[in-house]
Protein backbone atom coordinates (compact mmCIF):
# COMPACT_ATOMS: atom_id res chain seq x y z
CA UNK A 1 0.00 0.00 0.00
CA UNK A 2 1.17 3.47 -0.78
CA UNK A 3 1.69 5.72 2.21
CA UNK A 4 0.42 9.30 1.89
CA UNK A 5 4.05 10.32 1.81
CA UNK A 6 4.35 8.72 -1.61
CA UNK A 7 1.36 10.55 -3.04
CA UNK A 8 3.19 12.87 -5.41
CA UNK A 9 0.82 15.84 -5.53
CA UNK A 10 0.33 16.21 -1.76
CA UNK A 11 1.31 19.59 -0.36
CA UNK A 12 0.67 18.23 3.12
CA UNK A 13 2.08 14.73 3.50
CA UNK A 14 2.02 13.00 6.88
CA UNK A 15 2.95 9.38 7.49
CA UNK A 16 2.90 7.46 10.74
CA UNK A 17 2.95 10.54 12.97
CA UNK A 18 3.31 9.88 16.70
CA UNK A 19 3.35 12.46 19.47
CA UNK A 20 3.38 12.03 23.23
CA UNK A 21 2.76 14.69 25.84
CA UNK A 22 3.96 13.08 29.05
CA UNK A 23 1.86 9.94 29.41
CA UNK A 24 -0.71 11.08 26.86
CA UNK A 25 -0.25 9.43 23.50
CA UNK A 26 -1.87 12.25 21.50
CA UNK A 27 -1.11 10.98 18.00
CA UNK A 28 -0.82 7.26 17.31
CA UNK A 29 0.33 6.92 13.75
CA UNK A 30 -1.59 9.62 11.92
CA UNK A 31 -1.54 9.57 8.11
CA UNK A 32 -2.72 12.44 5.98
CA UNK A 33 -2.36 13.57 2.40
CA UNK A 34 -3.77 16.87 1.16
CA UNK A 35 -3.48 17.72 -2.54
CA UNK A 36 -2.47 21.22 -3.60
CA UNK A 37 -5.19 23.84 -3.69
CA UNK A 38 -7.79 21.88 -1.74
CA UNK A 39 -9.46 22.33 1.64
CA UNK A 40 -9.14 19.45 4.08
CA UNK A 41 -11.25 19.34 7.23
CA UNK A 42 -9.75 17.52 10.21
CA UNK A 43 -12.84 16.52 12.13
CA UNK A 44 -12.99 14.97 15.54
CA UNK A 45 -14.14 15.36 19.15
CA UNK A 46 -12.17 17.21 21.84
CA UNK A 47 -8.98 15.35 22.63
CA UNK A 48 -8.87 13.53 19.30
CA UNK A 49 -5.46 14.98 18.54
CA UNK A 50 -6.50 17.59 15.94
CA UNK A 51 -4.71 20.50 17.58
CA UNK A 52 -1.61 18.42 18.27
CA UNK A 53 -1.51 17.40 14.61
CA UNK A 54 -1.77 21.01 13.42
CA UNK A 55 0.91 22.11 15.91
CA UNK A 56 3.32 19.51 14.53
CA UNK A 57 2.49 20.46 10.94
CA UNK A 58 3.01 24.16 11.70
CA UNK A 59 6.47 23.47 13.26
CA UNK A 60 5.31 24.32 16.79
CA UNK A 61 5.70 20.82 18.18
CA UNK A 62 8.30 18.19 17.36
CA UNK A 63 7.05 14.76 16.25
CA UNK A 64 8.20 11.73 18.24
CA UNK A 65 8.04 9.49 15.17
CA UNK A 66 6.85 9.68 11.60
CA UNK A 67 7.44 11.86 8.61
CA UNK A 68 5.82 15.24 8.01
CA UNK A 69 6.43 17.25 4.86
CA UNK A 70 4.88 20.57 3.96
CA UNK A 71 5.37 21.62 0.32
CA UNK A 72 8.12 19.04 0.19
CA UNK A 73 10.04 20.31 3.21
CA UNK A 74 10.57 18.37 6.40
CA UNK A 75 9.02 20.09 9.42
CA UNK A 76 11.92 19.16 11.69
CA UNK A 77 15.03 19.50 9.55
CA UNK A 78 13.77 22.35 7.33
CA UNK A 79 11.51 24.18 9.73
CA UNK A 80 12.45 27.60 8.38
CA UNK A 81 11.61 26.61 4.80
CA UNK A 82 8.25 25.35 6.05
CA UNK A 83 7.67 28.53 8.04
CA UNK A 84 8.17 30.65 4.93
CA UNK A 85 5.30 28.87 3.21
CA UNK A 86 2.67 28.52 5.88
CA UNK A 87 0.14 30.65 7.65
CA UNK A 88 -1.09 29.56 11.06
CA UNK A 89 -4.15 30.66 12.97
CA UNK A 90 -4.49 29.00 16.35
CA UNK A 91 -7.49 28.66 18.61
CA UNK A 92 -7.01 32.05 20.22
CA UNK A 93 -6.97 35.28 18.26
CA UNK A 94 -3.19 35.75 18.32
CA UNK A 95 -3.09 39.52 18.10
CA UNK A 96 -1.54 42.29 20.12
CA UNK A 97 -4.57 43.92 21.71
CA UNK A 98 -2.70 47.09 22.64
CA UNK A 99 -1.99 48.12 19.06
CA UNK A 100 -4.34 48.73 16.13
CA UNK A 101 -5.47 46.22 13.53
CA UNK A 102 -3.35 47.95 10.92
CA UNK A 103 -0.28 47.90 13.18
CA UNK A 104 -0.75 44.19 13.87
CA UNK A 105 -0.65 43.45 10.14
CA UNK A 106 2.31 45.78 9.58
CA UNK A 107 4.23 44.08 12.36
CA UNK A 108 3.70 40.64 10.81
CA UNK A 109 4.61 41.99 7.37
CA UNK A 110 7.89 43.34 8.72
CA UNK A 111 8.59 40.04 10.42
CA UNK A 112 8.13 38.37 7.04
CA UNK A 113 10.83 40.75 5.76
CA UNK A 114 8.58 42.64 3.39
CA UNK A 115 10.17 45.91 4.46
CA UNK A 116 8.29 48.74 6.16
CA UNK A 117 6.71 50.25 3.04
CA UNK A 118 5.62 46.96 1.47
CA UNK A 119 4.33 45.72 4.84
CA UNK A 120 2.18 48.85 5.12
CA UNK A 121 0.90 48.48 1.56
CA UNK A 122 0.05 44.81 2.03
CA UNK A 123 -1.71 45.58 5.35
CA UNK A 124 -3.88 48.21 3.66
CA UNK A 125 -4.69 45.85 0.82
CA UNK A 126 -5.79 43.05 3.14
CA UNK A 127 -7.82 45.35 5.37
CA UNK A 128 -9.61 46.67 2.30
CA UNK A 129 -10.22 43.25 0.79
CA UNK A 130 -11.59 41.67 3.94
CA UNK A 131 -13.78 44.63 4.94
CA UNK A 132 -11.74 45.58 7.99
CA UNK A 133 -10.63 49.00 6.73
CA UNK A 134 -13.13 50.89 8.87
CA UNK A 135 -11.83 49.39 12.10
CA UNK A 136 -8.19 49.35 10.99
CA UNK A 137 -7.05 52.20 13.21
CA UNK A 138 -8.86 51.10 16.34
CA UNK A 139 -7.08 49.14 19.05
CA UNK A 140 -7.75 45.42 18.68
CA UNK A 141 -8.91 45.48 22.32
CA UNK A 142 -12.08 47.23 21.10
CA UNK A 143 -12.88 44.62 18.41
CA UNK A 144 -15.78 42.19 18.65
CA UNK A 145 -15.02 38.47 18.82
CA UNK A 146 -15.92 37.98 15.17
CA UNK A 147 -13.71 40.86 14.00
CA UNK A 148 -10.78 39.53 16.01
CA UNK A 149 -11.04 36.11 14.44
CA UNK A 150 -11.31 37.66 10.99
CA UNK A 151 -8.27 39.88 11.55
CA UNK A 152 -6.47 36.87 13.01
CA UNK A 153 -7.20 34.90 9.86
CA UNK A 154 -6.20 37.81 7.63
CA UNK A 155 -2.98 38.15 9.65
CA UNK A 156 -1.86 34.72 8.49
CA UNK A 157 -2.26 35.81 4.85
CA UNK A 158 0.38 38.56 4.87
CA UNK A 159 2.81 36.58 2.74
CA UNK A 160 0.27 34.76 0.56
CA UNK A 161 1.13 31.41 2.17
CA UNK A 162 0.71 28.34 0.02
CA UNK A 163 -0.50 26.33 3.01
CA UNK A 164 -2.83 27.66 5.66
CA UNK A 165 -3.54 25.95 9.00
CA UNK A 166 -6.70 26.96 10.81
CA UNK A 167 -7.33 25.46 14.23
CA UNK A 168 -11.06 25.61 15.01
CA UNK A 169 -11.51 28.93 13.21
CA UNK A 170 -15.17 29.40 14.12
CA UNK A 171 -15.49 27.96 17.61
CA UNK A 172 -17.44 30.36 19.79
CA UNK A 173 -18.52 32.67 16.96
CA UNK A 174 -22.04 33.83 16.20
CA UNK A 175 -23.58 32.57 12.93
CA UNK A 176 -22.89 35.81 11.04
CA UNK A 177 -19.19 35.91 11.94
CA UNK A 178 -18.97 32.21 11.19
CA UNK A 179 -20.33 32.81 7.70
CA UNK A 180 -17.78 35.59 7.17
CA UNK A 181 -14.95 33.26 8.12
CA UNK A 182 -16.38 30.60 5.83
CA UNK A 183 -16.54 32.89 2.84
CA UNK A 184 -12.97 34.06 3.53
CA UNK A 185 -11.75 30.47 3.58
CA UNK A 186 -13.62 29.75 0.34
CA UNK A 187 -12.01 32.77 -1.33
CA UNK A 188 -8.56 31.62 -0.27
CA UNK A 189 -9.17 28.13 -1.57
CA UNK A 190 -10.36 29.62 -4.85
CA UNK A 191 -7.02 31.48 -5.03
CA UNK A 192 -5.19 28.17 -4.83
CA UNK A 193 -4.21 28.11 -1.15
CA UNK A 194 -4.14 24.67 0.41
CA UNK A 195 -6.13 24.85 3.64
CA UNK A 196 -6.12 22.43 6.55
CA UNK A 197 -8.75 23.27 9.13
CA UNK A 198 -9.76 21.50 12.29
CA UNK A 199 -13.33 21.57 13.45
CA UNK A 200 -15.76 19.86 15.77
CA UNK A 201 -18.66 20.71 13.51
CA UNK A 202 -19.71 18.36 10.76
CA UNK A 203 -21.58 21.08 8.89
CA UNK A 204 -18.49 23.33 8.89
CA UNK A 205 -16.41 20.60 7.28
CA UNK A 206 -19.33 19.90 4.97
CA UNK A 207 -19.51 23.55 3.84
CA UNK A 208 -15.83 24.14 3.34
CA UNK A 209 -13.87 20.98 2.81
CA UNK A 210 -13.55 18.86 -0.29
CA UNK A 211 -11.92 16.24 1.87
CA UNK A 212 -12.88 15.32 5.42
CA UNK A 213 -10.55 13.34 7.64
CA UNK A 214 -12.14 11.91 10.75
CA UNK A 215 -9.72 11.66 13.66
CA UNK A 216 -10.27 9.83 16.92
CA UNK A 217 -7.72 9.01 19.64
CA UNK A 218 -4.83 10.10 17.47
CA UNK A 219 -5.55 8.10 14.35
CA UNK A 220 -7.56 8.63 11.16
CA UNK A 221 -10.72 6.53 11.28
CA UNK A 222 -12.25 7.67 8.00
CA UNK A 223 -11.29 9.84 5.09
CA UNK A 224 -13.16 11.02 2.03
CA UNK A 225 -15.38 13.64 0.47
CA UNK A 226 -18.38 14.81 2.53
CA UNK A 227 -20.71 12.79 0.28
CA UNK A 228 -18.62 9.65 0.69
CA UNK A 229 -18.64 9.96 4.46
CA UNK A 230 -22.37 10.57 4.62
CA UNK A 231 -22.92 7.50 2.55
CA UNK A 232 -20.71 5.60 4.93
CA UNK A 233 -22.74 6.68 7.91
CA UNK A 234 -26.17 7.17 6.38
CA UNK A 235 -29.12 9.20 7.53
CA UNK A 236 -31.79 8.47 10.11
CA UNK A 237 -35.50 8.36 9.29
CA UNK A 238 -38.08 8.86 12.02
CA UNK A 239 -41.80 8.44 11.43
CA UNK A 240 -44.42 9.31 14.02
CA UNK A 241 -47.73 7.50 13.40
CA UNK A 242 -51.31 8.48 14.21
CA UNK A 243 -52.31 4.87 14.83
CA UNK A 244 -50.13 2.35 16.70
CA UNK A 245 -51.83 -0.47 14.76
CA UNK A 246 -50.05 0.53 11.57
CA UNK A 247 -46.52 0.20 13.05
CA UNK A 248 -45.83 -3.10 11.31
CA UNK A 249 -46.87 -1.76 7.89
CA UNK A 250 -44.79 1.39 8.33
CA UNK A 251 -41.77 -0.67 9.37
CA UNK A 252 -42.11 -2.80 6.24
CA UNK A 253 -42.28 0.28 4.00
CA UNK A 254 -39.21 1.82 5.63
CA UNK A 255 -37.22 -1.41 5.45
CA UNK A 256 -37.92 -1.62 1.75
CA UNK A 257 -36.94 1.97 1.10
CA UNK A 258 -33.94 2.38 3.36
CA UNK A 259 -32.58 -1.13 3.37
CA UNK A 260 -31.94 -1.05 7.11
CA UNK A 261 -33.47 -2.82 10.10
CA UNK A 262 -36.29 -0.61 11.48
CA UNK A 263 -36.91 -0.19 15.20
CA UNK A 264 -40.47 0.24 16.39
CA UNK A 265 -41.57 1.89 19.59
CA UNK A 266 -45.21 1.09 20.33
CA UNK A 267 -45.56 3.48 23.28
CA UNK A 268 -44.37 6.44 21.23
CA UNK A 269 -46.01 5.12 18.00
CA UNK A 270 -42.67 5.65 16.29
CA UNK A 271 -40.61 3.82 13.68
CA UNK A 272 -36.92 4.59 13.25
CA UNK A 273 -34.51 3.33 10.64
CA UNK A 274 -30.96 4.14 9.66
CA UNK A 275 -30.48 4.38 5.93
CA UNK A 276 -27.26 3.52 4.21
CA UNK A 277 -28.37 4.81 0.84
CA UNK A 278 -28.06 8.55 0.62
CA UNK A 279 -30.66 8.66 -2.14
CA UNK A 280 -33.78 8.47 0.05
CA UNK A 281 -35.67 11.76 -0.13
CA UNK A 282 -38.43 13.09 2.06
CA UNK A 283 -41.13 13.32 -0.71
CA UNK A 284 -40.43 9.74 -1.76
CA UNK A 285 -40.82 8.65 1.86
CA UNK A 286 -44.14 10.43 2.35
CA UNK A 287 -45.56 9.04 -0.91
CA UNK A 288 -44.57 5.48 0.01
CA UNK A 289 -46.18 5.71 3.44
CA UNK A 290 -49.31 7.28 1.99
CA UNK A 291 -49.81 4.61 -0.67
CA UNK A 292 -49.42 1.93 2.02
CA UNK A 293 -52.25 3.62 3.90
CA UNK A 294 -50.10 4.79 6.83
CA UNK A 295 -51.11 8.12 8.35
CA UNK A 296 -47.96 9.84 9.54
CA UNK A 297 -48.06 12.76 11.99
CA UNK A 298 -44.40 13.59 11.47
CA UNK A 299 -41.73 12.35 9.10
CA UNK A 300 -38.13 13.38 9.69
CA UNK A 301 -35.00 12.68 7.68
CA UNK A 302 -32.02 13.58 9.82
CA UNK A 303 -28.40 13.77 8.74
CA UNK A 304 -26.26 12.16 11.42
CA UNK A 305 -24.75 14.22 14.20
CA UNK A 306 -21.05 14.03 14.91
CA UNK A 307 -21.86 11.82 17.91
CA UNK A 308 -23.64 9.37 15.66
CA UNK A 309 -20.77 9.39 13.21
CA UNK A 310 -18.38 8.42 15.95
CA UNK A 311 -20.79 5.93 17.43
CA UNK A 312 -20.98 4.25 14.06
CA UNK A 313 -17.31 4.37 13.23
CA UNK A 314 -15.71 3.71 16.57
CA UNK A 315 -18.46 1.91 18.45
CA UNK A 316 -18.14 4.35 21.35
CA UNK A 317 -19.58 7.75 22.11
CA UNK A 318 -17.48 10.77 21.12
Amino acid sequence: MKTPYDVPSSVIAVAGLHKHYGKTHALRGLDLAVPAGTVCGLLGPNGAGKTTAVRVLATLAAPDAGEVRIAGYDVVRQADEVRRRIGYTGQHAALDEGITGRENLRLLGRLHHLGGREAARRADELLERFALAQAADRLVRTYSGGMRRRLDLVASLITRPSVLFLDEPTTGLDPRSRNEIWSTVRELAADGTTVLLTTQYLDEADHLAGQITLVDQGVVIANGSPAQLKELIGARIEVQLADAGRLEVAARVLAELAGGEPETDADERRVTVCTTTAAVGLPQLVRALDSAGVEALDVALRTPTLDEVFLTLTGSAA
Binding site: Y5, A36, R69, Y88, L108, H112, L139, S156
Partner: protein, 271 residues
Protein backbone atom coordinates in the same frame (compact mmCIF):
# COMPACT_ATOMS: atom_id res chain seq x y z
CA UNK B 1 -1.61 31.40 -8.27
CA UNK B 2 1.56 29.58 -9.18
CA UNK B 3 1.58 25.82 -9.17
CA UNK B 4 2.46 24.27 -5.85
CA UNK B 5 5.66 22.23 -5.80
CA UNK B 6 4.80 18.58 -5.56
CA UNK B 7 6.34 16.34 -2.96
CA UNK B 8 8.18 14.33 -5.57
CA UNK B 9 10.08 17.14 -7.24
CA UNK B 10 10.20 19.40 -4.21
CA UNK B 11 12.09 16.67 -2.39
CA UNK B 12 15.05 17.33 -4.63
CA UNK B 13 14.93 21.10 -4.22
CA UNK B 14 14.40 20.71 -0.50
CA UNK B 15 17.49 18.57 -0.22
CA UNK B 16 19.65 21.24 -1.85
CA UNK B 17 17.95 23.91 0.24
CA UNK B 18 19.29 22.29 3.41
CA UNK B 19 22.80 23.23 2.43
CA UNK B 20 22.00 26.86 1.66
CA UNK B 21 20.51 28.03 4.92
CA UNK B 22 17.52 30.35 4.90
CA UNK B 23 18.64 33.96 4.96
CA UNK B 24 17.81 35.33 8.35
CA UNK B 25 17.65 38.98 9.14
CA UNK B 26 17.98 39.22 12.89
CA UNK B 27 18.25 43.02 12.92
CA UNK B 28 15.09 43.46 10.86
CA UNK B 29 13.28 41.06 13.20
CA UNK B 30 14.52 42.75 16.34
CA UNK B 31 13.57 46.19 15.01
CA UNK B 32 10.06 45.05 14.02
CA UNK B 33 9.49 43.66 17.50
CA UNK B 34 10.90 46.81 19.05
CA UNK B 35 8.40 48.81 17.02
CA UNK B 36 5.61 46.60 18.32
CA UNK B 37 6.28 47.72 21.88
CA UNK B 38 6.82 51.36 20.89
CA UNK B 39 3.46 51.36 19.05
CA UNK B 40 1.95 49.89 22.17
CA UNK B 41 3.19 52.82 24.25
CA UNK B 42 2.23 55.30 21.54
CA UNK B 43 -1.36 54.00 21.73
CA UNK B 44 -1.41 54.11 25.52
CA UNK B 45 0.79 57.05 26.52
CA UNK B 46 -0.62 56.80 30.03
CA UNK B 47 1.44 53.65 30.59
CA UNK B 48 4.65 55.65 30.85
CA UNK B 49 3.19 57.78 33.61
CA UNK B 50 1.94 54.65 35.36
CA UNK B 51 5.47 53.29 35.53
CA UNK B 52 6.46 56.60 37.17
CA UNK B 53 3.62 56.40 39.67
CA UNK B 54 5.15 53.68 41.86
CA UNK B 55 8.52 55.38 42.45
CA UNK B 56 6.73 58.72 42.98
CA UNK B 57 4.47 57.16 45.60
CA UNK B 58 7.57 55.71 47.27
CA UNK B 59 9.14 59.13 47.26
CA UNK B 60 6.14 60.64 49.03
CA UNK B 61 5.76 57.80 51.55
CA UNK B 62 9.43 57.35 52.37
CA UNK B 63 10.89 60.71 51.49
CA UNK B 64 8.32 62.76 53.34
CA UNK B 65 6.22 60.52 55.64
CA UNK B 66 8.77 58.08 57.09
CA UNK B 67 11.69 60.23 56.03
CA UNK B 68 10.78 62.86 58.59
CA UNK B 69 11.71 60.31 61.27
CA UNK B 70 14.66 58.59 59.55
CA UNK B 71 18.15 60.00 59.77
CA UNK B 72 20.44 59.17 56.89
CA UNK B 73 23.96 57.88 57.47
CA UNK B 74 26.54 60.61 57.94
CA UNK B 75 23.82 63.12 58.73
CA UNK B 76 23.06 63.82 55.06
CA UNK B 77 19.58 64.69 53.81
CA UNK B 78 17.48 61.48 53.82
CA UNK B 79 15.97 62.24 50.42
CA UNK B 80 19.46 62.51 48.94
CA UNK B 81 20.11 59.04 50.38
CA UNK B 82 16.75 57.72 49.13
CA UNK B 83 16.79 58.94 45.51
CA UNK B 84 19.50 56.60 44.11
CA UNK B 85 17.58 53.73 45.71
CA UNK B 86 14.40 54.80 43.94
CA UNK B 87 16.26 54.96 40.64
CA UNK B 88 17.30 51.36 41.27
CA UNK B 89 13.66 50.43 41.94
CA UNK B 90 12.79 51.65 38.44
CA UNK B 91 15.27 49.08 37.14
CA UNK B 92 13.90 46.38 39.45
CA UNK B 93 10.32 47.12 38.44
CA UNK B 94 11.20 45.69 35.01
CA UNK B 95 10.49 42.18 36.23
CA UNK B 96 6.73 42.41 36.62
CA UNK B 97 5.69 43.94 33.27
CA UNK B 98 8.01 41.66 31.32
CA UNK B 99 6.61 38.67 33.21
CA UNK B 100 3.05 39.69 32.48
CA UNK B 101 3.81 40.50 28.84
CA UNK B 102 5.54 37.19 28.16
CA UNK B 103 2.76 35.22 29.86
CA UNK B 104 0.08 37.18 27.98
CA UNK B 105 1.68 36.50 24.60
CA UNK B 106 1.95 32.83 25.47
CA UNK B 107 -1.62 32.56 26.70
CA UNK B 108 -3.14 34.42 23.77
CA UNK B 109 -1.27 32.50 21.09
CA UNK B 110 0.97 35.40 19.99
CA UNK B 111 4.04 33.35 20.91
CA UNK B 112 2.77 30.46 18.75
CA UNK B 113 2.12 32.75 15.81
CA UNK B 114 5.60 34.28 16.01
CA UNK B 115 7.13 30.81 16.28
CA UNK B 116 5.46 29.68 13.04
CA UNK B 117 7.22 32.53 11.24
CA UNK B 118 10.79 32.41 9.91
CA UNK B 119 12.06 34.77 12.62
CA UNK B 120 15.57 34.54 14.07
CA UNK B 121 15.83 32.67 17.32
CA UNK B 122 15.60 35.01 20.26
CA UNK B 123 14.72 38.05 18.12
CA UNK B 124 11.23 38.31 19.60
CA UNK B 125 12.42 38.61 23.18
CA UNK B 126 15.44 40.76 22.29
CA UNK B 127 13.20 43.21 20.41
CA UNK B 128 10.96 43.54 23.42
CA UNK B 129 13.94 43.98 25.74
CA UNK B 130 15.36 46.77 23.55
CA UNK B 131 12.02 48.56 23.34
CA UNK B 132 11.87 48.43 27.10
CA UNK B 133 15.21 50.26 27.15
CA UNK B 134 13.75 53.21 25.24
CA UNK B 135 10.80 53.46 27.57
CA UNK B 136 12.83 53.03 30.77
CA UNK B 137 15.29 55.68 29.69
CA UNK B 138 12.37 58.12 29.51
CA UNK B 139 11.02 57.02 32.89
CA UNK B 140 14.46 57.17 34.50
CA UNK B 141 15.11 60.65 33.08
CA UNK B 142 11.78 61.85 34.46
CA UNK B 143 12.63 60.40 37.86
CA UNK B 144 16.04 62.09 37.86
CA UNK B 145 14.16 65.33 37.14
CA UNK B 146 11.99 64.69 40.18
CA UNK B 147 15.10 63.93 42.25
CA UNK B 148 16.68 67.23 41.28
CA UNK B 149 13.45 68.99 42.24
CA UNK B 150 13.45 67.51 45.75
CA UNK B 151 17.05 68.44 46.44
CA UNK B 152 19.05 65.38 45.33
CA UNK B 153 22.31 66.15 43.51
CA UNK B 154 24.96 64.14 41.67
CA UNK B 155 28.15 65.37 43.31
CA UNK B 156 30.82 63.67 41.24
CA UNK B 157 30.31 65.12 37.81
CA UNK B 158 28.27 64.27 34.74
CA UNK B 159 30.49 61.39 33.61
CA UNK B 160 30.06 59.34 36.77
CA UNK B 161 26.38 60.20 36.97
CA UNK B 162 25.93 58.96 33.40
CA UNK B 163 27.81 55.79 34.34
CA UNK B 164 25.38 55.24 37.21
CA UNK B 165 22.35 55.68 34.92
CA UNK B 166 23.96 53.35 32.37
CA UNK B 167 24.47 50.77 35.10
CA UNK B 168 20.79 51.04 36.02
CA UNK B 169 19.66 50.54 32.42
CA UNK B 170 21.97 47.53 32.19
CA UNK B 171 20.46 46.11 35.37
CA UNK B 172 16.97 46.68 33.98
CA UNK B 173 17.91 45.02 30.69
CA UNK B 174 19.10 41.94 32.58
CA UNK B 175 16.06 41.81 34.84
CA UNK B 176 13.75 42.02 31.80
CA UNK B 177 15.14 38.61 30.75
CA UNK B 178 14.51 37.25 34.22
CA UNK B 179 10.95 38.52 33.82
CA UNK B 180 10.55 36.86 30.41
CA UNK B 181 11.72 33.56 31.82
CA UNK B 182 9.43 33.72 34.84
CA UNK B 183 6.49 34.86 32.67
CA UNK B 184 6.97 31.95 30.28
CA UNK B 185 7.24 29.67 33.30
CA UNK B 186 3.94 30.98 34.68
CA UNK B 187 2.31 30.61 31.27
CA UNK B 188 -0.79 32.57 32.25
CA UNK B 189 -1.19 36.31 32.55
CA UNK B 190 -3.13 36.08 35.80
CA UNK B 191 -0.52 33.92 37.53
CA UNK B 192 2.30 36.13 36.25
CA UNK B 193 0.61 39.26 37.59
CA UNK B 194 0.20 37.73 41.03
CA UNK B 195 3.68 36.23 41.16
CA UNK B 196 5.11 39.55 39.96
CA UNK B 197 3.96 41.24 43.15
CA UNK B 198 6.58 39.20 45.00
CA UNK B 199 9.22 41.44 43.45
CA UNK B 200 8.07 44.21 45.79
CA UNK B 201 9.54 42.75 49.02
CA UNK B 202 12.81 42.03 47.17
CA UNK B 203 13.07 45.78 46.62
CA UNK B 204 12.25 46.44 50.28
CA UNK B 205 14.74 44.03 51.85
CA UNK B 206 17.69 46.12 50.73
CA UNK B 207 19.49 49.33 51.51
CA UNK B 208 17.14 51.33 49.26
CA UNK B 209 15.12 52.86 52.08
CA UNK B 210 17.33 52.48 55.15
CA UNK B 211 20.96 51.48 55.69
CA UNK B 212 21.37 47.78 56.45
CA UNK B 213 23.48 48.44 59.57
CA UNK B 214 20.46 48.50 61.90
CA UNK B 215 18.88 45.25 60.63
CA UNK B 216 19.11 41.93 62.51
CA UNK B 217 22.20 39.98 61.42
CA UNK B 218 20.36 37.33 59.31
CA UNK B 219 18.29 39.89 57.47
CA UNK B 220 21.29 42.13 57.01
CA UNK B 221 23.11 39.29 55.25
CA UNK B 222 20.15 38.89 52.87
CA UNK B 223 19.81 42.62 52.31
CA UNK B 224 23.50 43.16 51.66
CA UNK B 225 23.69 40.35 49.11
CA UNK B 226 20.53 41.57 47.39
CA UNK B 227 21.46 42.80 43.89
CA UNK B 228 19.16 45.74 44.55
CA UNK B 229 21.44 46.83 47.42
CA UNK B 230 24.57 46.40 45.33
CA UNK B 231 23.08 48.56 42.60
CA UNK B 232 21.94 51.23 45.03
CA UNK B 233 25.36 51.30 46.72
CA UNK B 234 27.06 51.51 43.33
CA UNK B 235 24.86 54.42 42.27
CA UNK B 236 25.43 56.27 45.53
CA UNK B 237 29.17 55.87 44.99
CA UNK B 238 29.02 57.01 41.40
CA UNK B 239 26.81 59.94 42.25
CA UNK B 240 29.47 60.84 44.82
CA UNK B 241 27.27 60.62 47.92
CA UNK B 242 29.09 58.21 50.12
CA UNK B 243 31.61 49.79 44.25
CA UNK B 244 30.05 49.07 40.84
CA UNK B 245 31.76 45.74 40.13
CA UNK B 246 29.38 43.68 42.26
CA UNK B 247 26.42 45.04 40.28
CA UNK B 248 28.11 44.24 37.00
CA UNK B 249 28.70 40.71 38.25
CA UNK B 250 25.03 40.43 39.19
CA UNK B 251 23.98 41.75 35.78
CA UNK B 252 26.23 39.28 34.00
CA UNK B 253 24.99 36.40 36.13
CA UNK B 254 21.31 37.24 35.60
CA UNK B 255 21.73 37.76 31.87
CA UNK B 256 23.83 34.63 31.33
CA UNK B 257 21.32 32.44 33.12
CA UNK B 258 18.00 33.88 32.12
CA UNK B 259 18.46 35.15 28.56
CA UNK B 260 19.29 31.67 27.19
CA UNK B 261 16.71 30.09 29.51
CA UNK B 262 13.98 32.47 28.30
CA UNK B 263 14.83 31.97 24.61
CA UNK B 264 14.84 28.21 25.10
CA UNK B 265 11.52 28.25 26.92
CA UNK B 266 10.02 30.53 24.24
CA UNK B 267 11.07 28.20 21.43
CA UNK B 268 10.17 24.96 23.16
CA UNK B 269 6.72 25.77 24.53
CA UNK B 270 4.40 22.86 23.80
CA UNK B 271 6.96 20.94 21.74
Amino acid sequence: MTAMPTTANADATAATATATAVTRRPLTDVWALTLRVLWYYKNSPGLVSVSLAAPLAMLVVFGYVFGSAISAPGGENYRSYLMPGLYVLIAVNAVMPSMVGAARDLERGMTDRLRTMPISRGATLLGQALADMFVSAVVLAAMVGVGLAVGWRAHDGVGRAAAALGLLLLLRFCLVWLGFYLGLLCGREEIAAQAGILVFPIGMVSNVFVPTAGMPAWLRAVAEWNPVSCAAAACRTLFGDSAGTATLAWCAAILLVFAPAAVRKFNRHGR
